[in-house]
Symmetry: C2
Subunit: 131 residues, 2 copies
Amino acid sequence: MSRLHDELANFSLRHTEFSLLQLIGANPGIKQSEACRVLEIQRANMVPLVAGLEDRGLLSRKPIDGRSQGISLTRSGRALAKKALAAVAAFENGLINAIPKHLQQHVEPILLAIWSGCAVDGDVGTAASTS
Amino acid sequence: MSRLHDELANFSLRHTEFSLLQLIGANPGIKQSEACRVLEIQRANMVPLVAGLEDRGLLSRKPIDGRSQGISLTRSGRALAKKALAAVAAFENGLINAIPKHLQQHVEPILLAIWSGCAVDGDVGTAASTS
DNA sequence: TATTGTTATACTCTATAACTATA
DNA sequence: TATAGTTATAGAGTATAACAATA
């Protein structure tokens, strides 16, 4: 987590901001409240998060109805989200490559087994595709 | 991490406090500054940590020389450290048991490979036995 | 001069309560 | 009445700077 934090710092992103950008990128127009539920972030904490990314020109808000607002990535938001995702993917590949070849195939099944064991109560799912 | 946090909350311990208790238990009389280096905690942040555990009667301090103090677990500190460790071990066993039997043997080699890949720069080691 | 413990301080993350306005 | 967004606030976790006492 510490090294991932450093990777994201290269893009001036905290890990929560990264997650939010990826979620919005995969779900343009998503409501703040939906993003809160998916990422398990309190509504109150989403406000400065979205405001910060908006101030940086990475996302924009458009009213859906009188109380809801849909958030989408701007052009530069999409560009940053793409670059950051590539960096995170490279980081993860580095981790995988540190594992002996014959064990690499077992990583995903093991992680999925632990994950499903953990998700007994809350259950979040893959979080990327919220229709 | 979230579930482990909840496990430790049953003993009114934060995960940093748990780690410190285990470290002291394995290294009675360790200096605060040594504990800081092993656990990678700032000296300034160790002060309220140790004070809190001392106020709860879990550890005691004895002067080594004019400026250093050795910290050790009290009787109740050892008892709590033991119970908390058992709970954490049980928690970890639960995670392992969620993994299909034929994959369980690969978990430790995979984790060690990732760990040694991560420890390229800082390197902390097992942190339990600091001679 | 370097180390140990300490104080003060600040920033981030997270959590709760309460408010406004809308559905 | 429930929901969406907001504000204020409080508690942890963590970081730096500075200080006194000691090695």
